[in-house]
């Protein structure tokens, strides 16, 4: 097994073999989940705390379910109503929590780099469930697993990521992961939603969707947030759908067997036509949700193994 990290903070610092190790284990959990086989011993006796400084339903419940399936004691802390509102700093929150001896900490925060900052102050395993516009590593991993299962491989594929790239942590993690695994990544967005100098990250940049979708194997759509629809970044919702919404006509430029993905929640009729989202021959959106639980089980399993090893070696000082 090759996976030595103490935390899962982002894709940036993962090695391709670590990604493969994690996906292989996730594959195993995906099969077990389908068969209804329990693995309650994996995290038995461990405490998992979900700290979501930003509201989330999908990611938080996916992490919660993953922890419970592995036998962890899971606690959800809703940070929106907690002492953060009373002016406590992120580091004080981390130290307070650390004193309660959790084993796994799942954190989502609105600021880039905040989860990494927090991980430096605690002695448990930290998983980044999204930090600002920076990274969302488990989303990229579940996307990778979905692609690998649908396409039979995770290399030499042509993958288009479309939509609000500039504000998307999902896009950043995916660009890094798919690049590391030697795929061709294309970014399609109006220039106002494209990060500056992004081509330096080794991707091809398009502002014409049909051109960008030509002969791709995978179409990955991103959510367009409501607050960005009103003239600041794009003129209107309907013009956006006309030029960048995925419909059957635009999808016809991709390969005939191209799959369609979306991290959810979807805006039907804004970035994706409802009939495409529901097309069981093209859309793997439900598989993504399913793989999400498996990937998070695998990630927590690997981090827990490393944590136990480091504790046994005396490298983790228990306060």
């Amino acid at each position: 097994m090759t996976f030595n990290a103490a935390h899962l903070l982002g894709i940036e610092h993962l090695h391709p073999t670590e990604i493969t190790t994690l996906l292989d284990l996730a594959d195993h959990y995906a099969e077990q989940n389908r068969k209804g086989i329990q693995s309650k011993d994996v995290l038995a006796g461990m405490t998992q705390v979900n700290m979501f400084f930003e509201n989330s339903t999908r990611t938080q419940s996916s992490f919660e379910l993953a922890g419970k399936r592995l036998g962890a004691d899971v606690m959800n802390m809703s940070m929106a109503t907690s002492s953060v509102k009373k002016g406590e700093t992120l580091i004080d929150t981390a130290l307070t929590l650390n004193a309660m001896h959790p084993d796994i900490l799942v954190v989502r925060h609105g600021s880039a780099g905040a989860v990494s900052l927090l991980s430096q102050k605690v002695n448990c395993a930290v998983l980044n469930a999204g930090d600002g516009r920076h990274e969302h590593p488990t989303q990229a991993l579940l996307d990778a697993l979905t692609i690998r299962r649908a396409k039979g491989r995770l290399h030499r594929l042509s993958i288009a990521i479309c939509g609000d790239i500039a504000h998307s942590r999902v896009a950043r993690s995916n660009i890094m992961l798919l690049g590391k695994m030697e795929n061709r990544v294309r970014l399609i967005a109006p220039p106002t939603l494209m990060p500056s100098e992004v081509s330096e990250l080794g991707v091809e940049v398009y502002d014409d969707m049909r051109e960008g979708l030509k002969d791709v194997d995978v179409v990955m759509m991103l959510r367009l947030q409501k607050e960005r629809m009103d003239g600041g970044f794009i003129p209107s919702e309907r013009e956006y759908f006309h030029r960048y919404g995925l419909d059957a006509e635009k999808l016809s430029y991709a390969k005939d067997d191209a799959i369609v993905m979306h991290p959810g929640p979807m805006n039907r009729g804004v970035e994706i036509d409802g009939s495409i989202a529901d097309d069981i021959n093209r859309s793997v959106i439900q598989t993504q949700v399913e793989m999400g639980v498996a990937v998070r089980m695998a990630a927590m399993d690997l981090l827990a193994r490393n944590l136990r090893e480091r504790r046994a070696a005396g490298q983790v000082v228990t306060v």
Binding site: T89, A112, S116, H134, R172, S196, E200, L201
Partner: protein, 422 residues
């Protein structure tokens, strides 16, 4: 009889851009003789400099002292000690305190505090608009009478061009120096880093370096309208330089400065969200850094300063976007600037032209030279001595330096203010 004789020194003369081996005599706080040979006078105290560099003390323009309001970050006593340790003999303070130095009364308060507590000379800038809000101009005339040597709203840009234009016109009538910060304020709103590959990779909101040029272009146009006397606090991008050069060639009364961090660090130094590297404007690309160094060497940029901005640990131990901007620099200005000397990009007289001579000339401060009759504000330093910086050994109350753990060269052997060792 001479009070002090510095002999066997490598004399750095930024006015003449020369370095020679010689001696300096000091009496009653003033330089009374500069000798490069011949007989030396007898003196009460003879200091053998052992071949080390003797230069006019640094005049650091744009230092933030936390009085009033944030004395826990930096007081006049601690700022003075930090300056003395860094070879800085005069600090020119900023007005962006809490409360703003925007009335003769607050200026008199800080002037008194500085006189009581600081071991180095202190001069003050006052705000250009009340509360630095960009609305109403301050009492520029009264503030000049109370001792303000320049007027600046710090890093707040006066967004309303009409107000900026009137303020410059009024300042012109009093021959007051206005120090501006050049940023197109709406374009740079919310930015934490310079836009580009690094910002995209880290998911941080960025500002285009073009915002600096836009800010400069507007202010240059206003100088053509008003004829005001104007100094840009920091020029940090290559794209702003041609405009600055044209403005100077066209005879406008404009000078420019740059902070030491923009000369020695680039955007990638932020690395994994290190908040001690968050400064305003944000660190730039390596190409910009090199272009700005060339501009200082050629004299297009006149002044190097530390942009000393003390911040406590709490303001910095936050996610990058929320963390406060600024870095301390009084004690690291000299060794950091010597990096440019050791890299062969600038000579020592060129460095001291930008750190002593030009600030004195532009801000109307006595000093900045080693000529007879100049005040005996001197720094003796070894430009080669290596050391590793430990931020907890800094004299500043705040320890937010980006150079913690950095290998540096250049140690101060002594600092004299008006002939008195500090």
């Amino acid at each position: 009889m001479t009070d002090i004789l510095f002999q066997n020194a490598r004399l750095i003369d930024p006015a003449e851009l020369t370095e020679t081996t010689g001696a300096i005599a000091v009496t009653d706080g003033k330089i009374t003789g500069v000798y490069t040979g011949g007989d030396l006078p007898t003196a009460t105290e003879v200091i053998d400099c052992g071949g080390l560099c003797l230069a006019p003390g640094i005049i650091d323009v744009g230092v933030k002292v936390g009085e009033p309001g944030e004395r826990h970050k930096e007081s006049y006593a601690s700022a003075g000690r930090a300056a003395a340790a860094g070879g800085v003999t005069t600090i020119v303070t900023r007005a962006d305190t809490d409360t703003t130095i925007d009335s003769p009364e607050t200026l008199e308060f800080v002037a008194r505090r500085a006189a009581e507590d600081s071991v180095v000379n202190v001069r003050h800038m006052a705000a250009l608009t009340k509360g630095r809000k960009g609305g109403e101009m301050t009492e520029i005339g009264f503030l000049l009478d109370a001792g303000a040597i320049a007027f600046s709203d710090g890093s707040s840009v006066i967004e309303n061009t009409k107000i900026m234009s009137r303020t410059l016109t009024y300042a012109r009538s009093l021959n007051a120096l206005v120090v501006g910060h050049i940023q197109e304020p709406t374009l740079s709103a919310g930015a934490a880093v310079t836009s580009g590959k690094f910002a995209s990779l880290r998911g941080l909101p960025g500002v285009s370096p073009m915002a600096e040029r836009m800010g400069l272009d507007r202010d240059i146009a206003l100088l053509e309208m008003t004829g005001a006397k104007y100094h840009v606090d920091q020029v940090t991008t290559a794209r702003a330089l041609p405009a600055l050069e044209r403005a100077k060639n066209n005879g406008l009364d404009i000078t420019a400065g740059v902070g030491i961090h923009h000369l020695t660090l680039n955007e990638f130094d932020v690395a994994d969200y290190r908040t001690f590297f968050k400064v305003k404007p944000p660190l730039r690309s390596e190409d910009d850094r090199n272009a700005v160094i060339d501009a200082v060497a050629s004299g297009l940029i006149d002044i190097i300063c530390s942009m000393h901005t003390p911040q406590d640990e709490e303001s910095k131990r936050l996610p990058f976007e929320q963390a406060a901007s600024g870095a301390v620099g009084l004690e690291t200005l000299l060794p950091a600037s010597l990096r440019l000397y050791h890299a062969g990009q600038m000579t020592l007289p060129q460095l001291f032209r930008a750190m002593s001579y030009n600030p004195a000339q532009r801000f109307g401060i006595d000093g900045g030279t080693i000529a007879v009759e100049a005040p005996a504000d001197l720094v003796l330093f070894d430009p080669d001595a290596p050391f590793v910086l430990d931020r907890f050994k800094l004299k500043s109350k705040s320890k937010n330096t980006p150079f913690d753990g950095a290998r540096m060269q250049g140690t101060v052997a002594g600092t004299w203010v008006a002939g008195r060792r500090v």
